[in-house]
């Protein structure tokens, strides 16, 4: 059931209890976790934090902890599947689920006792009405009635029997019709997968209601929202309206302390609204590198072609920026250039067809040196979360490191994350360039398909879901810009990359077509399931996003064929 009053029905309930926090491995979940941890520290609520990367992890974690804990808080996992059936909990376990995955499973919505959903109901949920999908079975009563009636005197029995049989046939027909309609409604409801309001924002609102919201929590909520935008989980409209909500909170915080006479210490955190250029990490890199490695500019200029490189040089000349300045670290650029940089870039980019070079976002500023944009933090934390630096990929270690990098006092963690993010972006750009130049993207009819071969450089980086999704998005955009085929521009993309060499598996990701007004609804989850069933391929649907699966390398071709037939 949905919880509307978070404070009364969630926070006060867990106030004196021990809670198990099961957190999924994405940045929004990490931010929500940080906010909740800060609230728990304020009120000294004991909790255990367990990172989970998939359904199997979730089940194992639940089995380990179900003896000691009665209250479980699930962040960004658990809403889109029948949780009670999967976990088989005892009757007194209560689950609080704050998840952005939609559609929410109908069993979770209509369960009144054990499942509490911390989800805002004004999201476009579209949950089917109760009576359309559940109904009490009346057949047992009817047939009992009929047998009673059958003991009537024999003279009247024949007539009653005919009436009774007709009524029974009528009821059965109605039941079949109802069931057919139910299947249709459920199919429509569960067909497309999409995302709702950020979990971090929901917990920030809880903090606000408790008047325990601080600037740190506000910043984490902003990072959670930006993560949804960077990894393409929400539509542009929703992003803009959520930014407006956050902007109200930011102005509230800024008005509280700033005064002409009593200005704040320089060490205090200042969050400001920025209408900044869409160049990833540009303040921590050189402007030139940032333009080359941000997907928006790289795709619009087509930087994998020679013509594109020339266009870039023209663009820089048009802005009046000398190459020497542009290629050095951003912080060492001339102050006169840095002052009007955004306006200059916007003006010139309009001439080159990049209309949305600027995007609304927030930046933070504390101490004398430290300025970060929300998207910088998202990229850094994502790079740390999925880092393949160490040989044994310890997911818990990476999780804790990424969690630490979000705090203000772990700046070297954050710097390390930014370096990893730079390497990741460069790897993505190079892979995109090679895929386009060698025509690795094939049109299979209803969708586009690309497979990264074993020996591709940095392929280990792309065995992780977030990195692969980012690569997918950039590749699709680049493809749309480079192809002449009008039909291909509207196709979705499926990408496969080797995941585990010893086990011989690949990770497969599907994303919806790239368009300005896309509603980001992804139908590949159901499609993958059906295709796997029909070909009995050995697949693992372990990830919380149903559009990301693991597949055995040998079954790849028959799986693809099944998909093609399914989607044509």
């Amino acid at each position: 059931m949905f919880i509307t009053d978070l404070r009364k029905n969630f926070y006060d309930v867990v106030a004196n209890q021990r809670v198990a926090l099961l957190v999924a491995a994405d940045i929004d979940a990490l931010c929500a976790c940080k906010i909740l941890q800060a609230l728990f520290h304020c009120d000294q609520i004991q909790y255990t934090l367990v990172p989970v990367t998939g359904w199997q992890d979730l089940s194992t974690a639940f089995l380990e902890h179900k003896e000691q804990f009665r209250y479980f808080v699930l962040i960004n996992c658990g809403a889109n599947v029948d949780l009670l059936e999967m976990l088989q909990p005892d009757d007194d376990s209560i689950f609080f689920i704050c998840d952005t995955h939609r559609p929410v499973d109908v069993v979770n919505v209509y369960n009144d006792t054990q499942i509490k959903l911390l989800i805002k109901q004004d999201d476009d949920l579209g949950v089917p009405a109760y009576d359309d999908i559940f109904r009490d079975d009346e057949d047992g009563g009817d047939s009992g009635n009929e047998s009673d009636e059958g003991s009537e005197p024999s003279g009247k029995r024949r007539r009653f029997d005919e009436g009774a049989i007709e009524r029974r046939i009528e009821r059965q027909r109605a039941k079949r019709e109802w069931e057919a309609r139910r299947r249709e409604i459920l199919f429509d409801y569960e067909q497309y997968e999409y995302h709702g309001t950020s979990a971090a924002m929901i917990f920030f609102e809880l903090a606000w209601v408790l008047t325990k919201d601080t600037k740190d929590m506000l910043w984490w909520a902003i990072i959670g929202l930006t993560d949804q935008w960077v990894h393409d989980k929400i539509t542009h409209m929703k992003y803009v309206s959520d930014i407006a909500t956050m902007q109200r909170h930011v102005s509230r915080h800024n008005h509280r302390n700033e005064d002409e006479e009593n200005s704040l210490s320089i060490d205090c955190m200042r969050i400001s609204f920025e209408y900044d250029v869409r160049l990833t990490l540009y303040q921590h890199w050189s402007l030139y590198e940032s333009i080359c490695n941000s997907y928006y500019t790289a795709c619009c200029f087509k930087l994998w072609t020679l013509k594109g490189q020339k266009k870039l040089q023209e663009f820089l000349a048009d802005m009046g920026l000398p190459l020497r300045q542009v290629k050095q670290k951003f912080n060492s650029m001339d102050i006169t250039i840095k002052e009007n940089l955004r306006d200059v870039i916007e003006e010139s980019s309009n001439k080159y067809g990049m209309k949305d070079i600027r995007i609304q976002t927030f930046g933070v500023h504390f101490g004398f040196k430290n300025r970060f944009l929300a998207s910088d933090m998202v990229h850094a934390a994502a790079a740390l979360l999925e880092s393949t630096e160490k040989e044994q990929n310890d997911t818990t270690d990476n999780f804790i490191k990424a969690l630490d990098s979000l705090s203000r006092n772990n700046l070297d963690c954050l710097k390390a994350g930014i370096d990893l993010a730079k390497k990741k972006l460069i790897a993505i750009q190079q892979t995109v360039a090679s895929c386009i130049c060698t025509n690795l993207i094939l049109s299979q009819g209803p969708f586009l398909y690309c497979y990264l071969i074993e020996g591709t450089p940095d392929v280990k980086l792309f065995s992780k879901p977030l990195a692969l999704t980012l690569l997918c998005k950039y590749l699709l955009k680049a493809f749309v810009h480079s192809t002449r085929n009008k039909r291909c521009k509207l196709l979705p993309l499926i990408m496969a990359a080797p995941k585990d060499v010893e086990k011989g598996t690949v990770i497969v990701v599907g994303i919806p077509p790239d368009s300005e007004t896309s509603d980001k609804k992804n139908f590949f989850g159901r499609a993958f399931e059906k295709a796997a069933e029909s070909t009995s391929s050995r697949t693992l649907h372990d990830h919380f996003d149903t559009s990301i699966i693991e597949l055995k390398t040998e079954d790849r071709s028959k799986f693809l064929d099944a998909l093609i037939t399914l989607l044509s």
Binding site: C42, T211, N257, N262, S263, S265, D267
Partner: protein, 167 residues
């Protein structure tokens, strides 16, 4: 004494806070505290004030000597006199560090206060060095030191040890 011990003792000083919760009077070994009512100022020791601040249950009001004009006066006085002048409080350095690290958003002009306190500290340390130096050169047996605070004791021992080695 260890600097951490000195800081521990500094936390016993009282500071005014404005809580946002209510609680009856609490009876602790060190004394009675409270009652706490939202919006009404109450005196508590610094250790409790910092704990409550970190749990976002109160707002700390700046100490009366933590004011830019007062500190400027004290600094000028310190610079003029050769001997030590009364410091703002017995534990001014420790209190400044604690309060400005944890509650700098409640204290106006925190950066200037930090600079001024550091100036006062530097002046006093310089005087200490000078006097310890002259003390050892003149081979005096006793010296009268007034107005030196706990954290300076350790500085005295260190400086005199240094001087001993040089002499």
């Amino acid at each position: 004494m260890d600097p951490s011990e000195v800081e521990f003792l500094a936390e016993k000083e009282f500071v005014k806070i404005i809580p946002n919760f209510s609680l009856d009077k609490i009876y602790l070994i060190g004394g009675d505290l409270g009652p706490f009512n939202p919006g009404l100022p109450v005196d508590v020791p610094v250790w409790l004030a910092l704990n409550l601040k970190q749990r976002q249950k109160c707002r700390i009001l700046p100490l009366e000597w933590m004011d830019v004009e007062k500190l400027e006066e004290i600094r000028e006085l310190e610079r003029k006199e050769d001997a030590f002048t009364p410091a703002p409080s017995s534990y001014y350095m420790e209190l400044t560090k604690l309060l400005l690290n944890h509650a700098s958003d409640n204290i106006p002009k925190a950066d200037e206060i930090r600079t001024l306190v550091k100036d006062i500290w530097d002046t006093r340390i310089a005087k200490l060095r000078l006097s310890a130096d002259s003390f050892i050169r003149q081979q005096e047996a006793h010296a009268q030191v007034t107005q030196i605070m706990g954290i300076n004791h350790k500085a005295v021992r260190f400086i005199s040890y240094q001087q001993e080695i040089q002499a």
